[in-house]
Subunit: 348 residues, 2 copies
DNA sequence: CTGAAAGCGCTTACAG
DNA sequence: CTGAAAGCGCTTACAG
């Protein structure tokens, strides 16, 4: 009764047509009711809803997006560096929660910082007609992002600044966060502060170095280039670099590590040389168990959940309307967490 | 030429119809060529491919799945506990890589161990007609999983054993891994070994406790129930429980923590009481920086990447054919990583 | 081997 | 306010 011949169980899926038949109305009316369109007689709304409930109708968003004028798929995509790294996955979670609140699904992919893979992901996602894109840009995909944006898909770039028409960004105050932390070291009396930095091709790495330089300039102290190591790619490389600096002439009394893995590499070197209680260390970006190490590792902290939430809000805002506002650049503040390693005064 | 009137740029998307027109063939032929169906004259294949390339045609998987007999969407879904927890996200990454190799997209969602949310996710994903499902079951969704499976969607359950028709599982040898680790402690001379366990509703928690009990039985040692704390939900609770046990009469000389967070809670309690160098500690599941703590924390390790790869293989195997094989239960071995904390002999 | 037509589940002009 | 028809981009019987 009311279902297809030969099968009265919800296998072979209930369609709008089934609902229409059962409610005794046309297909178009069912569509209107399901989509909450105005202008349907209250009684028909009632009948359709009743039939849908009775039949266990489930709306097929995918099929609906095909003919839909706005082509909305109730899906957004998130291009991360690596879904398995803590920063990315915390961001992912925040975006998932914000999207879920609006019944939007989030697709994700890992670019591994490869522009080629990033391009492929953006391609895949736009082909699946996502309603919007959040990306941590590896760099080198600006042209593609601009094209996608122009064709109508809202985009929010996260973590790294990107200057594109109507593309919003969310970053943290890398420069200021670093400046303040290095300033603390200077105030503590440190005069020789090493800097460990990530690849210079990465915007955040450049900004953090600027903060380091500004802190020195602000205190009227020159930067000793022999204490600066940039373009470091891994914890191992950071460990090596730190070891070299610490065993050279005029070693530093403090180390600023401008990224997660570099902090850990630096710390390993300090432990290895038995200097962890004598040389100060501050890292950029917090990491799990930093408080349980001896000494606890002081860090400039960023809040990936807050960043993700902000990005999701900007994106959903564009999707639900204000698509022609000019680009906005949201800056999320960093914090400083004193745990001991950054509070070590200069030796002697 | 060959494109829609008034627009010769790739906006307004190139469809199969455009390709057909340009190649001078019928729509069906284009579909056959794009889908690598046999039985098309070599020359036509050539012309279609040429036209597709020239026009920059991109196949719309979503639309194609609508009419397709097998309804494949080239999408699988992964229901995790929390995309942001390290075990989940490492698993996610492994699945992503395996799926990507076959041009399959992976959707994910976080259940937070809530059956209700898990049910909703499974629902959302099946409605979007994913080709398969990998789930870390929170428990309480067996009925739904069985239904989904019966309706044709292959399912692989991960981390926790599930006994359902044609549903494969991938777990680690929780019991054996725990037994061996506790056995090490016994061999070291420990006679009073505390056990910190997760919620008993979780299969892995039960298995690990069994391993603890079996090790004792195997050594002819009774388990002292006063040293056993189960149903612990958080690091804080584990810290409290450990503190209580250690300050009671007849304290343990070793602690086995049957889960990540519990290990950290236990460790905090030990540090707090200044016992970290005198009471042995072994945790189940490795965590970042475990090697940098003092002492390094020894653990029973599981390999989430291996687990994810295995799950993806089983799932893709079912999707690409062998859908009627009986359920397989893959067991991935655990390892033991000695870092010091597990090698502390009993005091005195 | 090939193409015109029907149809996947839905939305959207278009008449009424 | 409502429904029959056309159409989203594609695949699949069905004839030829």
């Amino acid at each position: 009764m009311g279902t297809r011949p030969g099968e009265d169980q919800p296998r072979g899926r209930i369609t709008m047509r089934d609902v229409a038949t059962r409610a005794g109305v046309g297909l178009a009316t069912v569509s209107r009711v399901i989509n909450d369109k105005p202008g349907v007689a209250a009684e028909l709304v009632e009948r359709v809803n009743e039939a849908a409930r009775a039949l266990g109708y489930r709306h097929d968003v995918t099929a609906s997006s095909l003919r839909r004028a706005d082509r909305r798929t109730a899906t957004i995509a998130l291009v991360l560096e690596d879904v398995a790294n803590p920063f990315s996955s915390a961001l992912h979670r925040a975006v998932e929660d914000a999207a879920h609140a609006e019944d939007i699904l989030v697709l994700t992919g890992s670019s591994d910082e490869h522009p080629e893979r990033e391009r492929e992901l953006i391609d895949t996602f736009t082909l699946r007609r996502v309603d919007g894109l959040i990306v941590i840009p590896a760099g080198g995909t600006d042209g593609q992002l601009a094209t996608v944006r122009r064709q109508g898909t809202p985009i929010v770039c996260v973590d790294r600044l990107v200057e594109l028409d109507r593309v919003d960004t969310v970053t943290v105050d890398n420069r200021e966060g670093t400046r303040a932390a290095v300033r603390r070291l200077l105030d503590l009396g440190h005069r020789r502060i090493a800097f460990l930095g990530d690849m210079r091709s990465i915007w955040t790495a450049r900004e953090r170095y600027q903060g380091y330089a500004e802190a020195h300039a602000g205190a009227g102290r020159p930067v000793d280039e022999r204490l600066v190591r940039r373009d470091i790619r891994s914890a191992e490389a950071a460990e090596r670099a730190t070891g070299e600096i610490l065993t050279a002439d005029d070693p530093p009394t403090a180390v600023f590590a401008a990224q997660n893995l570099l902090t850990i590499g630096g710390l390993r070197a300090l432990q290895h040389l038995g200097l962890h209680d004598r040389v100060a260390l501050i890292g950029f970006d917090d990491f799990p168990l930093a408080d349980m190490l001896r000494p606890g590792v002081s860090v400039v902290s960023q809040d990936p959940a807050e960043i993700g939430l902000m990005a999701a809000r900007l994106l959903l805002g564009r999707i639900n309307g204000g698509d022609h506002r000019p680009a906005r650049h949201a800056v999320v503040p960093t914090g400083y967490i004193a745990r001991g390693s950054g509070e070590i005064p200069p030796a002697r």
